[in-house]
């Protein structure tokens, strides 16, 4: 091989190394550590802009993710736990999160049956008129069974205010308490103590 060819080859290899090195260093400097600890999860994927960037079955993992980005952790829950996802905002510094799924819908439905009479009793204690005007239905529990929503179905004749409504309760020291008074829709700013995913689920069940 002539010297000229050697130089050209070295030059091309040098350029490729420069580009690859720059891209690796640039991406490293523009990313940060994300530590994910899991509980009651059998496996999970981390998605960035729709693409899976990491998959794991481990309980503790550390990965690099771009700074100022939003990633989604999609997980498959263990038996009795939901299969769902969580959105995570990444800032400029390393972040550590624990991902723990709530109970599965089937498990919550079974729990709801056992809590039904206690929930009804507390709704009637909140406002005696409720049982006169409405039929209580669709008992739904959320998270670990500590939140509940019940639909109030109007049982009288159709009138100007005969809308169906919903009421939200929270279980505190084994007793249910009304925390979201009967409403057609729940605006999150009026209920800062109720998790927004529960409000969303309740509102989306209204149509």
């Amino acid at each position: 091989m002539s010297n000229t060819r050697k130089y050209i080859l070295f030059f091309i290899v040098g350029i490729i190394t420069l580009i690859a090195g720059y891209i690796v260093i640039y991406n490293y400097l523009n990313s940060t550590d994300l530590t994910i600890n899991t509980k009651n999860i059998s496996s999970y994927n981390v998605r960035l802009s729709g693409s899976i960037i990491y998959s794991s079955t481990q309980k503790n993992d550390v990965m690099r993710v771009p700074k100022s980005s939003h990633v989604s952790v999609e997980f498959k829950g263990a038996d009795g736990y939901e299969t769902s996802s969580r959105e995570i905002s990444i800032g400029q510094s390393p972040k550590s999160i624990t991902v723990e799924p709530f109970y599965s819908k089937e498990h919550l439905a079974a729990l709801a049956e056992s809590e039904r009479s206690s929930i009804s009793k507390n709704i009637n204690n909140y406002q005696a008129d409720i049982s006169k005007l409405y039929t209580l239905s669709d008992y739904t529990l959320y998270h670990f069974g500590e939140w509940a929503c019940v639909t109030l179905e109007w049982k009288g004749e159709y009138s100007q205010n005969s809308d169906d409504q919903r009421v939200i309760l929270k279980k505190e020291s084994s007793d249910w308490k009304v925390v979201g008074e009967p409403s057609i829709l729940f605006f999150y700013k009026n209920y800062p103590d109720i998790p927004i995913d529960i409000l969303r689920s309740v509102n989306n069940s209204s149509f």
Binding site: F11, Q160, D163, D164, L185, R200
Partner: protein
């Protein structure tokens, strides 16, 4: 032979310059959107999500950002924008508080006037991108029946509320369905029902029910 060597060296240097230009100027901008960030006074400190940046063209990933401009003697200006292809410029205009600042603002009144229209445009785009349903309102459905319109709270003119009126229980139910079908977040948007008086609540609260 020497001439050939010179040609090769020239080509190599040219390729190297092109590669360096690509790496330093183009690669960091791939997939990002150019946003002109303008400010008056010119020497105000600008932060983007808390990190300091320079005024002028910044290349940002699509998504929400909080921009803030501050300077001693001026009331800081903060705006939350959603960077998208529709947004090309954001203007930040801290308001003068001290006498010195007021004089400077007076001198630069023409510049500030131009920037205020850019600032208003960015805020308008921001509201409409956060609440795309506003582009479809007011909306009426006589078969519902219902009418949906919107307004802005006096204490925070950036957050709209929706009001459902001329409705019955069926109409309100249809209005909620229409809003959901049009991708309205029923939880983060305040929705008022004008004629609904909650039979469960006290009468004085009736018009504030959701």
């Amino acid at each position: 032979m020497i001439q050939r060597k010179h040609i090769l060296i020239t080509v190599a240097v040219f390729i190297l310059i092109c590669v360096l230009y690509y790496l330093l100027a183009i690669y960091p901008r791939i997939g990002k959107i150019a946003v002109d960030i303008l400010v008056n006074p010119n020497d105000a400190t600008i932060t983007l999500n808390g990190s300091r940046i320079s005024p002028g063209t910044n290349y940002l990933n699509a998504g929400p950002y909080t921009l803030r401009a501050e300077k001693e003697g001026w009331k800081a200006d903060e705006v939350t924008v959603s960077v998208s292809n529709e947004l090309s410029a954001v203007a930040l205009l801290p308001q003068p508080v001290s006498e010195e600042a007021k004089q400077q603002a007076k001198k630069e009144a023409t510049t500030r006037g131009g920037l205020s229209s850019i600032a208003a445009n960015a805020r308008g785009l921001d509201i409409r991108s956060a609440y795309p349903i506003l582009n479809k309102l007011p909306y009426s459905d006589t078969s519902g029946p219902f009418k949906i319109d919107y307004g802005f709270n006096q204490d925070n003119s950036k957050i709209p509320y929706l009001i459902v009126s001329f409705s019955t229980p069926h109409g309100r139910s249809k209005a909620i369905k229409w809003l959901a079908d049009n991708k309205t977040d029923l939880t983060s948007t305040e929705i008022l029902f004008d004629e609904f008086i909650n039979p469960i609540h006290k009468e004085e609260d009736a018009h504030e029910q959701y």
